[in-house]
Subunit: 414 residues, 2 copies
């Protein structure tokens, strides 16, 4: 993988330039890039056409084809995304703490870029622009390795970005694309410890699992959301109904939608018939435990497997639990530690749920659909971390930085 | 590895108990453990004797034998360490931020235990007590896998800790030891993603490299320190001399000692003879580039390999550089991103060095020997991270925690 080592070396060189850029300079480069992407719309669409022709030849299915397709509007919206990132506050340079030690040493912790970030992703060409923008903003060099389906689009996009970089005096190697989309280049990236500081996989569960299991480069794991809503015995049932409908049906294909509804046994009889009928009207299939199937005639019996499954579809597993503790046990056993919500009017139940549920985001009386960098007010999102190291939950710009200690002395020795 | 899965499952169960413990309860358990370790001194020394007998039979060399050896004093000092950890402030439960969003959602970020921590280490039995104490303090369960040389000591120590846990009503599985010290158990731990949230290797470079390369569990890399001191053209040479002597000779076998001295060419002629003579008196071998060997008759020519080497010994590589920029280039190329210091009276040079050197701890006018959790005022240290994810530099209690988002709503949906 000599090409990859070369790219790594050049990316590392670029980091020294990037780390020295001021926030104003980075803002200017991002705005310049946004403008040039719009200017080059024709060129990028041309390249995208090649990818689409290839995809049609390979009989790629509708939803994938849609994700691959660029239009003038979509390109304009990618550029708009860059302009928005340009306007965000730059996290680099923030002094997080600064303390004077008894020996007079002044020890500070300052936020700095991570260095070189590798991103392995699948068919969406918008990830190319998005990831490049977030990395530039945080002073990181990035090596992008997209899917083969979008290779022509990605080449055109990265060439455009590099043209903008060069015109602003930034090394073009700050944003590089791996053009060889064979499996070997992905594997080689997972072993590129010499040059890559971190690796972020963006895509389906299969991709994320492969990267997590095989990478010796530190990985930020994003993604899987097997989320739950628990309706407590004291819940405002009208509110519970709204939250469950929203969390399941507003956008079922995303990670922060719920997959399982847990209902306290003391309200099961009065809550389940209404909510299930409304879900049925919205074409949601109900898979219930025995208690549920006894109450709801059209509910399908749920299997053990169902409790573990992220359906990403209009399917909801439903279970009646005898207590809050049982709900928490279920969530901690079957959940993927993403987003969990309780609907309750009880102070004690809310506190217990918040304290004992082990997940990136734990809600009281709100839909799980809010777990998102934009909804959290970060202004950007590189993914939602479901691991516990470095970042947990929605990752914004800050999560693309690290820190270093800076120590001011006047001759101290030990 | 059924035994390991079983331990993992039990450790996971214990985390739910640990996460609910108050700071006062954890303090009481740590103090109880400290007391019991002193009470069981005879029992632990007995077990240690078996390890020492085995080590002598295998003709283990002196320094390793010393590290393995326990005495009443050493056991008392291990217990004293626990009492000190007991007194530190508990990082768990700190609300790092809490903001109200325009839609009324209140989004907070709270510090919580990581969960189950795996620690793979080598011969020192004190690591067993130390790691157990830090994990308990932060509400984490720990699975310890020490070296075979210390197995009997470790079994006795962990039994004692578990006895203290049980007497305080804490699940003994909060602290578990892997008694099978075969290579396979270490490998199995690196793949125990289902139960281990993170893995920390503590030991030599070989161990750390093996774990980093083979673990699919997220790893915190600690250790290697190829550190530099740069004497700038404006340096107070008397101060430079004190710092270099201290950083090289006060304790040469540790990671924050310097391995290479870089000297600005404009002060090489006046600085090098004096410092080298003093180092020679202290039995330090000088390995110099051509400029150095021309000035210092007894300097050995340095090889390319020497610039990369963490000698951990009374050896110092010395190089003359034409500028500050060249010093920074050298450090960023050959260093291990641990601790770096500049001695200078120039504002510009200090700022440039702090900004451009890529390392966990960057110093102006002080010895690199201060990179240490205790010297930084953390009151404890689990290791010094040289990676950029999660923690960088000395890791104290805070670095053994993660965060979760807690969200307070009143019916919000998207």
């Amino acid at each position: 993988m000599e090409e990859l080592n070369k790219k790594g070396e050049l990316a590392r060189q670029a980091t020294y330039f990037l780390a020295r850029m001021s926030s104003d300079e980075k803002k200017r480069v991002l705005n310049k890039t946004a403008g040039l992407i719009v200017d080059r719309t024709g060129y990028i669409l041309e390249a995208n056409k090649k990818d689409l022709a290839e995809a049609e030849k390979n009989q790629v299915k509708g939803s994938l084809l849609d994700r691959l397709t660029l239009t003038s509007d979509r390109i304009a919206s990618m550029a708009e995304g860059l302009s928005q990132v340009a306007m965000l506050e730059d996290p680099v340079g923030e002094v997080i703490s600064m303390k004077k030690r008894p020996n007079g040493l002044q020890i500070g912790q300052i936020r700095v870029p991570i260095g070189v970030i590798g991103i392995i992703y699948e068919a969406r060409p918008n990830v190319t622009v998005d990831a490049a923008g977030l990395c530039l903003k945080t002073g990181n060099a990035v090596i992008l390795r997209g899917g083969k389906e979008a290779i022509n689009s990605n080449i055109a996009i990265v060439k455009t970005i590099q043209e903008a970089l060069v015109s602003e005096g930034v090394p073009p190697e700050a944003v590089q694309l791996v053009e060889d989309t064979g499996r070997e280049t992905a594997v080689a990236m997972m072993r590129l410890n010499e040059y890559l500081d971190i690796l972020i996989p963006r895509g389906g569960q299969g991709l994320i699992k492969t990267v997590t299991e095989n990478s010796s480069v530190p990985v930020i794991e994003t993604g899987t959301g097997n989320c739950h809503a628990f309706v407590d015995e004291t819940a405002n049932l009208e509110m519970a109904s709204r939250i469950v409908i929203n969390a399941k049906t507003q956008r079922p294909g995303v990670c922060n939608a719920i997959e399982t509804l847990l209902v306290h046994s003391s309200v099961a009889d009065i809550f389940l018939p209404g909510i299930c009928d409304r879900l049925k009207e919205l074409n949601v299939e109900i898979r219930g435990d025995r208690n549920v199937t006894e109450i709801i005639g059209y509910a399908v019996p749920a299997t053990e497997e169902d409790w573990y499954t992220e359906f990403l579809d209009l399917i909801l597993a439903v279970k009646v639990v005898p207590s809050l503790s049982d709900a928490i046990l279920h969530i901690n056993k079957y959940g993927s530690k993403h987003s969990e919500t309780i609907v309750t009017e009880s102070y004690h139940s809310s506190q217990k749920f918040l304290a004992e549920v082990d997940a990136a985001a734990v809600y009281v009386n709100a839909s799980t659909r809010f777990t998102d960098g934009f909804e959290f007010g970060f202004g950007a999102e590189i993914g939602i971390s479901t691991q516990k190291l470095h970042a947990r939950g929605p990752m914004g710009l800050k999560e693309l930085t690290t820190t270093k200690y800076i120590i001011f002395g006047n001759g101290q020795i030990r």
